[in-house]
């Protein structure tokens, strides 16, 4: 980006480079065959900033009013060290994994190109119960107890198919879980029945903001009190399916403390714009812009308790760790097959230590990340403190998941750099998992 300080020549050069880039870009578009009008439209659409006011997708109305909020029971403390999932977890994970392999993986490349997840996949995922996993049975949910471990296993299995589509599927789950965990009776009655219904709403937790060194505990988005409730102002970044979302949970600073607000699409002053990124493109990330958005007092989630906000941050990070773990597994399985098949110098390249050791290290770091993620989740389920464990898992995701993405491409060499293989997509997706905040709630 040219800055004011740059001299004219510098600015001219930068402008020239932009044109060359654009030309080269469009040639590339032609060469790789992105010629269909629709695809070209998406290509330009994602380049141009198109701000759209949000449209109310549906009217959220309480079906039956609850006297008190319903909560999923949290699990008891476990007695023994154990890495065996329960039968229920096992069956659910198997079903989701089959779905991910049969439906998500084949759809992933097109969804990545189109920057959208096909609606029928979202529908199938919600039919599998993905959206309602965090909702108490009393309110129509399918699972009797709260289990972060189950949600982690589910997210892992989805991401094994495709990370971007997994995020698209899980964003609404996050909002349903958030309202289940922290909503009062009114909020639960208003929103949760929609999430357990046949067509759950698109929804997302919006924490991230567009600035370097963003601190989720000090959002620049501000909520101030007004006669009617609260007025919010700020910009949230990389929100999954922002344009389609009908409901947001937004992080904002209220009285110098971070808090969460439930805001419906269609509220005055609320708009979105596409914000395509390096990866997770099937999740159709976008910005949510709040320009003096006025909401009722009932929009405040969890009474503005900072510990509720902190939990939301941690559960988001846990979600990204699960996505990282599932995606890294996809990389491992893919490169295992490739390096055994690919012949160079008269034998499979897997016969070389440089190749084989890279594969071994992918397996080691993936397993470490996975165990750390499961430990954090199981501590959540057992009511133990989990901030440290989540942070450690996130650190592993930040460091190792990104390098596993890189190794995945490296092992395939030039072939890995093309879209003929999924490793370049995983490379892009895995850079996200250690840096994004919010979007998911485990």
């Amino acid at each position: 980006m040219p800055t004011q300080q740059q001299n004219l020549a510098g600015r001219g050069m930068a402008a020239g480079l932009k044109v060359i880039n654009w030309l080269a870009g469009s040639e590339l578009v032609d060469r790789v065959g992105l010629r269909e009008p629709a695809q070209r439209l998406i290509y330009t659409g994602s380049k141009r900033t198109t701000r759209a006011t949000t449209v109310a997708g549906r009217t959220f109305q309480a079906a039956t009013r609850l006297g008190r909020p319903a909560r999923q029971a949290s699990g008891a403390a476990a007695d023994l060290f154990d890495l065996t999932p329960t039968d229920e977890q096992h069956l659910l994970t198997e079903a989701i994994r089959d779905f991910a392999l049969a439906e998500l993986r084949p759809a992933a490349a097109a969804a990545d190109r189109a920057c959208v997840t096909p609606p029928e996949l979202l529908e199938q995922a919600s039919e599998l119960g993905v959206t309602m996993i965090g909702v108490p049975e009393e309110l129509g949910g399918a699972v009797d107890g709260r289990s972060a471990v189950t949600t982690v296993l589910m997210a892992e299995a989805l991401a094994y198919g495709d990370a971007g589509i997994a995020v698209a599927c899980l964003a609404a789950t996050g909002v349903a879980t958030a309202v289940s965990l922290w909503g009062d009776a009114e909020q639960q009655s208003t929103y949760l029945h929609e999430f357990v219904g046949e067509h759950p709403p698109a929804a997302a937790l919006a924490l991230m903001e567009p600035r370097a060194l963003f601190d989720p505990f000090a959002p620049a988005t501000v909520a101030r009190r007004s006669d009617r409730g609260f007025v919010l102002r700020g910009v949230k970044s990389l929100v999954p399916r922002a344009a389609a979302d009908e409901l947001f949970v937004v992080g904002a600073t209220l009285d110098d403390r971070p808090a969460l607000f439930v805001i419906e699409a269609g509220t005055d002053g609320l708009s979105t714009e596409p914000e395509p990124a390096m990866g997770l493109r099937a999740a159709a990330t976008g910005r949510v812009i709040l320009e003096d958005v006025e909401v009722d007092p009932g929009a405040l989630l969890g009474d503005g308790d900072p510990s509720v906000y902190a939990e939301a941050v941690h559960f988001g990070r846990l979600g990204w760790c699960a996505i990282a773990s599932g995606t890294c597994r996809a990389v491992l399985d893919y490169v295992k097959e490739y390096v055994n098949d690919r012949v160079a110098f008269g034998e499979p390249i897997s016969h070389r230590q440089a190749i084989a050791f890279t594969v071994a290290n992918i397996a080691i770091e993936l397993e470490g990340l996975r165990l750390a993620t499961l430990r954090a989740a199981s501590r959540v389920d057992q009511g133990l403190p989990f901030a440290r464990e989540v942070t450690l898992a996130r650190r592993l995701a930040s460091q190792h998941a990104a390098s596993i993405g890189s190794d995945g491409v490296q092992l395939l060499g030039g072939h890995g750099y093309t879209t003929e293989h999924p490793v370049e997509r995983w490379y892009r997706d895995l850079r996200a998992t250690g840096l994004l905040e919010g979007g998911l709630v485990i």
Binding site: A78, F357, E367, L392
Partner: protein, 422 residues
């Protein structure tokens, strides 16, 4: 039900081991680092105490002696302290996990002293794994060292040249005659027994390699020298020559037949599936010592870790602590997993090597980074950090180097033989 917390049942064991580590090991750490080859006599009383506790079943897993596939089957009907199983799922937390947890604590104290604990040598694991009841009667409870490595056979243990020839000239007392050279025998000069790997027939490869129990006072076992080392100086490392060293035929461990294919050798190598997580545990103990002390020294300078805010927003030293702790945690969980799998008789060769590979490199890395973070305090002998950095390095070498672990892992993941993936 997935749970990665250390069960409360083991709290007593961990506390006991921690007390030994603090009150016996730590206070003597520097002394025996300086006085290399001097016998740490303080350990005798401790060993006697541990024997007593083992006999009464109160302490299990202070050393390698307790692990092994057969040990888990509780053939004598006695469950080790803290070992539990869940009747509804069959999930077991047994000897392997208990041993590992004890070892982590002891290694936190001092890994050199841990390695030279009387009657806790690696040889015990080999004996426990395959000994007959009669052999257990003769060798059980004795201090047994392990002699595998030779000058020309390190990681490539199938290449060992030490020979064993059966001599039946006296039919009443058939004997094996051992000849060769063994190096890097931990506690070799201090132990009562040495388990020596030798081949019955050099032309027949791995299947001909057997292990033999040799009494330390056997005149055919000649001590060549004790090594001077980078670290773990409290633990002696002996080099021997075997010169027509005669042992009773009954001292051979396992089957005396030369196995076809790799059967016999594979059996011997399986010992490693149980012992590799233990060495990984030592790495975890040393690394924890480094992290704890570094954290103390950094907090004196006003640096503390915040587990909520992103590491990038914290002081560089705090972010580095988080990064190191994360890799340490990954190593620790991989190691618990490998031990848990052994307890539940799940094949864990892959996971044991993953644990060893990760823990070995993480410990060395953490120890060296902690020295750097603490500056002259870290590098000077006034603190133990520099010693731990020297000690840690061996943990990425013995019981299979980093590179050997990666080979084991890669061969399994990729379905390759040792002739394909060399």
């Amino acid at each position: 039900m997935i749970n990665l917390e250390v069960p409360r049942k083991f709290t007593g064991l961990i506390t006991q081991a921690g007390q030994v580590a603090e009150n016996v090991f730590r206070v003597n750490s520097r002394k025996y680092d300086r006085a290399e080859h001097e016998y740490p006599k303080e350990l005798d009383m401790l060993a006697a105490m541990i024997d007593g506790m083992n006999a009464s079943g109160r302490l299990n897993g202070a050393g390698a002696g307790g692990v092994g596939g057969r040990e888990n089957s509780s053939r004598n009907g006695l469950e080790p302290t803290g070992a539990r199983s869940d009747p509804s799922t069959g999930n077991r937390n047994g000897t392997n996990l208990a041993s590992l947890l004890g070892l982590i604590e002891l290694a936190w104290g001092d890994v050199g002293l841990l390695l030279t604990m009387p009657r806790q040598g690696l040889g015990q694991a080999a004996i426990a794994a395959v000994a007959t009841p009669e052999q257990l009667e003769r060798f059980g409870g004795k201090w047994a060292a392990m002699a595998i490595t030779e000058p020309e056979a390190g990681s490539d243990s199938a290449a060992i040249r030490t020979t064993a020839r059966l001599d039946e000239s006296d039919p009443a007392h058939p004997e094996y005659i051992l000849n060769g050279e063994k190096i890097f025998v931990t506690s070799g000069d201090r132990a009562e027994l040495i388990v020596v790997w030798a081949t019955l027939d050099r032309t027949q490869g791995r299947g001909a390699i057997k292990s033999f129990v040799v009494e330390r006072d056997n005149p055919g076992l000649v001590l060549e020298r004790l090594e001077h080392k980078l670290g773990i100086r409290a633990s002696d490392t002996a080099d021997f020559r075997l010169v027509d060293c005669r042992v009773s035929r009954e001292n051979l461990l396992g089957s005396p037949e030369i196995q076809t294919a790799r059967q016999g050798f594979a059996g011997a190598m399986q010992t490693f599936d149980n012992t590799r997580p233990l060495v990984a545990g030592m790495a975890i103990g040393v690394a924890r010592a480094c992290l704890e002390r570094t954290r103390e020294l950094l907090s004196q300078e006003g640096v503390t870790v915040d587990y909520e805010r992103p590491p990038e927003l914290q002081p560089g030293a705090a972010a580095e602590l988080i990064a190191m702790e994360a890799d340490w945690e990954a190593a620790r969980l991989l190691t618990l997993q490998a031990a848990w799998m052994a307890d539940n008789r799940l094949p864990n060769s892959l996971h044991a090597s993953m644990a060893k590979a990760k823990a070995g490199r993480v410990a060395t890395d953490i120890a060296l980074r902690c020295v750097a973070l603490c500056g002259s305090l870290g590098y000077g002998e006034g603190e133990l950090l520099e010693k731990w950095a020297r000690d840690a390095k061996i943990l990425d070498i013995f019981e299979g180097t980093q590179q050997i672990q990666l080979l084991v892992i890669a061969r399994q993941l990729l379905g390759k033989s040792s002739s394909e993936l060399k």
